[in-house]
Point group: C2
Chain length 195, copies 2
């Protein structure tokens, strides 16, 4: 499936706002969460609390954004994604590639480790112009929201997954990478998109 | 000053992302704040806490977004905005109109009540497709972030203002309106943009 061409058409058809507005909003939220929990919690709890809340926000976004993917992609894509014969790695690759193409006009790399695990190399842009508060460095994960987005999007297709950050450019790594691991498939349920 | 034409050029030059991504992120934050404070606080505090935090996030965004306006508008605009001879109503009108044109390609109406107060009619789009949690209705103000954005943006030009929601379409009003009232001018300081 040519996710690049399909995703590009979807990207072009989207109504847009300046990227700055999105990055600015996300940056402000990360900073506010950090400050809030820094004032109200102690030690390692701060990063845990802030990262968990960012992941939750992402999860809610993912659940909604995947509807956009399925509504705007050609019908064959939705059929492929919802089919019980489509494997985890294949579904994950198509969904993640389309999602990033549609949302950021970005091509991401999805590499299968085995049948139950993929590594997603996220765009460098995600951490562009970001400065974490000094005491948040090494604790706060700016990529948490994308973990949540992928988790929510996959869940809507009945794949329950765990998504964690593997490399983070804000922590000095050379790329932004997350690992998506299959927990289980909700075999009995129809994909929630068809509800 | 033709803020519409200038703003349109600025809008066109912006790198963009899908509007859905912004609306989805903001919607998820509002819902998450509401749930967090609903679980941890009681009664009227919930809306107060959530609205205050949304306003704070907006304030941080406003401080940063105004830099974009001044950097991307023709030099005459920055000179006008930063000049000590420009009045509150004039500065407010130009800044608010440019900000909304640049960020949302939207034309907003700014009406002076007197020399110290303006009413800004915000785009209907801001509350499009928004559903507040049932128990948040009549409490949570979805427009709080825009109050913060305007407050932050004006502050960077040395106008300390108070911004409150006057009408909110999510509460059944026919339009989205905020009132921006001058508190004081930081006469001694140079506009912070020139730092």
């Amino acid at each position: 499936m040519n996710t690049k061409t399909i995703g590009e058409e979807m990207w072009k058809a989207e109504e847009k706002v300046p990227a700055d507005m999105f990055h600015c909003l996300y940056g402000a939220i990360v900073a506010e969460y950090w400050r809030f929990h820094d004032d109200n919690d102690s030690g390692a709890d701060v990063s845990n609390a802030a990262n968990t809340r960012l992941d939750k926000i992402g999860h809610q976004m993912g659940c909604r954004l995947v509807e956009g993917v399925c509504a705007k992609a050609p019908p064959s894509v939705s059929v492929f994604l919802a089919s019980p014969t489509t494997g985890f790695v294949q579904a994950g690759e198509v969904l993640v590639k389309l999602l990033f193409k549609q949302l950021m006009n970005a091509s991401v790399q999805v590499s299968a480790v085995d049948n139950f695990k993929v590594i997603v190399t996220l765009p460098n842009d995600l951490t562009r112009n970001v400065q974490l508060p000094d005491n948040a460095r090494n604790h706060l994960s700016y990529l948490s929201i994308w973990c949540g987005i992928l988790r929510g999007a996959m869940e809507m297709l009945n794949w329950r997954v765990n998504v964690t950050v593997v490399s983070d450019m804000l922590l000095g790594d050379s790329k932004n990478e997350v690992e998506m691991t299959l927990i289980d498939r909700l075999h009995d349920a129809k994909p929630r998109l068809e509800d």
